[in-house]
């Protein structure tokens, strides 16, 4: 188990290093120059050259890459070209917002998705199953950014009960305690609902399939023949075993969820990593893009690792090494 974990960690590190390298060279190949954007159209060639030299952008690419690696290894992410602020501060403010949004929606969409999928499997073939199937296929097909806009249309523009952008109201600094929490919850409601609704569709579809697969296994027939009560069989025999593939999916769905968060953050102006990334790519703000992609790669790798650990916890066969992982 420990050896396997060490192998996974090493592979994860390789992925993060690969993402960073790929990003670095792709970004420099792209047309567009952060210095031109910084100095504006009136800048002379000498001014541009001086600024490039000051930022170290005139050196050969491999040298720049080595310098970046050395700085990052020392824990120094550099300064944003566009705003001049330290990248560490920019991302330090952003990543908790993304982690909170993604983490909460992952939790909610799995709890609700497992409940819906289990209900469907237990009532397989009935009207309830059909109705829920139609709903989950539709949720699964909803693009997050569009669902977000529709929720804004209903809850902000028509009902006027929820705010549509940002993480705080204008007066949040003046609020204290419960009022402040309420402000935060009101702001997180729509982006969270968007990500969660889209997530429920995929999870419920998967859980339903996994449970019906387990339902057909011989040991379930045995349990039935022994006269166990149906709820007990569904809960302890079917659901428990169906959770194994579901947990694998949990780790794998983190990259997809992060991708979804990029779009949803753009819609709701949620101050997270996704929004910063989109803005930085457009401004060719090299240090910020590099840091944001590296951080998102780390989050994704950690998510996959967490999925593996959860899997070992759910499935004793994996924990005790009696099954190939």
């Amino acid at each position: 188990m420990l050896a396997a974990l060490a192998r996974r960690l090493a592979a994860g590190l390789a992925v993060v290093a690969g993402v960073a390298t790929l990003t670095f060279f792709l970004l420099r190949l792209a047309p567009g120059d952060p210095v031109e954007r910084l100095l504006g159209p009136a800048a002379t060639a000498e001014q541009l050259a001086a600024q490039r030299q000051a930022l170290g952008l005139d050196r050969p690419l491999p040298a720049q890459y080595a310098a970046w690696l050395a700085r990052v290894a020392a824990g120094e992410w550099g300064r944003s070209i566009a705003s001049g602020r330290p990248v560490r501060a920019v991302l330090g403010e952003a990543w908790p917002a993304t982690a909170a949004l993604v983490g909460l929606s992952l939790l909610l969409s799995y709890l609700l998705g497992i409940a819906v999928g289990a209900a469907q499997a237990a009532r397989g073939g009935t009207r309830l199953d059909t109705a829920l199937s139609v709903s989950t296929v539709t949720l699964f097909a909803l693009p997050g950014y569009w669902l977000g806009l529709m929720l804004v249309l209903v809850f902000t523009y028509r009902l006027r009960i929820l705010p549509s952008f940002g993480a705080h109201g204008y007066d949040s600094d003046a609020l204290a305690g419960l009022a402040r929490l309420r402000d935060l919850l009101r702001h997180v409601a729509l982006p969270l609902a968007t990500l969660t609704l889209v997530g429920i569709g995929g999870t419920a579809r998967f859980v339903r399939g996994a449970m019906l697969d387990v339902r057909a296994a011989p040991f379930v027939t045995t349990a039935l023949a022994k006269g166990l009560a149906a709820p007990r069989i569904w809960l302890h025999h079917v659901l428990r075993n169906a959770l194994v593939p579901v947990v694998t999916l949990l780790g794998l769905s983190l990259p997809a969820l992060f991708s979804g968060a990029v779009f949803v953050e753009a819609v709701f102006a949620w101050p997270g990593v996704g929004r910063i990334l989109v803005e930085a790519v457009q401004a060719r703000d090299y240090p910020v893009v590099m840091a944001a992609t590296t951080v998102s790669a780390i989050l994704v790798v950690l998510g996959n690792l967490l999925g593996d650990l959860l899997l070992a916890w759910v499935d004793p066969r994996i924990r005790h090494g009696t099954r190939e992982t």
């Binding site: 592979a11 994860g12 390789a14 992925v15 690969g18 993402v19 790929l22 990003t23 792709l26 970004l27 190949l29 792209a30 047309p31 567009g32 397989g124 296929v137 539709t138 699964f140 097909a141 909803l142 693009p143 950014y145 569009w146 806009l149 529709m150 804004v152 249309l153 523009y157 019906l212 697969d213 990259p255 997809a256 992060f258 991708s259 990029v262 779009f263 753009a266 819609v267 996704g274 990334l277 989109v278 790519v281 457009q282 060719r284 893009v289 992609t293 998102s296 790669a297 994704v300 790798v301 996959n304």
Partner: protein, 287 residues
């Protein structure tokens, strides 16, 4: 009867498959016959001030009916929707074809060769699978001037990994089957065995994955266009239509609603066809 048509018949016997295939057929027909079923030019503007933001089912002062209303430039939303279908469906289909082509080659080579080649290819696949796709999409889309062709390439290059894994698994298991041994003992060349005997039998899960993948690709295309790095206006795509409707959500909600509904309908249809195909193709999972 050719086994392929038999499977399609099976798929159509399924209620979901019938519905999905019907929806896709209608959308494809509308897209192909766009000049016939719509007002013609998706970028046509007349008197902008008089014809902008007309609600659905209204008639403008030129006597033209707008079944889905008009946008802020007075352009007909229905016309843009059916012309946008050409872009969205075309980009989605081509991107998936590209993914399938790359995935087939990588998966087949990895599954049917020995030595360091499969190890390297599989490591590459796992690596690419672990990359955050949207980050890669954003970077790649920023590399060149945004266009529909760029979106096809970018989506194709970031979507082949699951296909490669599927094909690899199928090829590996088929390679040990007696009919492959038989073909080898007849002295057929390995490339011929792979192309004529193994790959046709490995296509089943690939078709299902492609059906599901088209829906996903259409959704991602719209997402990129929504962020402004995909298909560029004035060429209509469902994504940039949603993006342009975002600013007028309050006074003209139909501009963003119509392309979103079309998108959901098509993705649902792709998913249903994929599900039905899956059940039709693998008797064990038929429920």
């Amino acid at each position: 009867m050719n086994p392929g048509t038999g499977r399609v018949t099976w798929m159509l016997r399924d209620k979901r498959g019938r519905f999905g295939a019907f929806v896709l057929a209608v959308v494809v027909l509308c897209a192909l016959a766009a000049p016939v079923v719509s007002a013609g030019d998706p970028a046509a503007q007349r008197d902008v001030v008089a014809t902008r933001f007309l609600p659905p089912l209204s008639t403008d002062l030129h006597g033209v009916v707008h079944p889905l209303g008009t946008d802020r430039f007075g352009r007909d939303v229905w016309t843009r929707l059916v012309y946008g279908a050409r872009i969205s469906l075309g980009v989605g289909t081509l991107a998936v074809l590209l993914s399938v082509a790359i995935g087939l080659v990588v998966g087949a080579v990895a599954g049917f060769s020995s030595g360091p080649v499969p190890v390297v290819l599989l490591a590459l696949t796992d690596f690419a699978l672990a990359l955050p796709r949207v980050v890669l999409l954003l970077l790649l889309a920023a590399l060149w001037r945004p266009s529909a062709a760029l979106v096809v390439v970018v989506l194709g290059l970031t979507g082949w990994m699951s296909i490669a894994r599927l094909v690899h698994g199928e090829v590996r298991s088929l390679a040990t089957r007696p009919f492959v041994e038989g073909a080898a003992s007849l002295g057929l060349r390995r490339t011929r065995i792979l192309a004529r005997h193994i790959l046709p039998n490995a296509l089943t899960p690939v078709i299902v994955a492609a059906a599901l993948g088209i829906g996903n690709a259409i959704m991602l295309e719209a997402g990129l266009s929504f962020l402004g790095v995909g298909v560029q206006p004035p060429v209509p795509s469902w994504g940039n239509m949603i993006a342009s409707g975002r600013d007028t959500l309050l006074n003209a909600p139909w501009v963003a609603t119509a392309p979103g509904l079309a998108l959901v309908l098509v993705v649902v249809a792709c998913t249903l066809v994929g599900d039905a195909l899956q059940d039709a193709l693998s008797p064990t999972s038929r429920r």
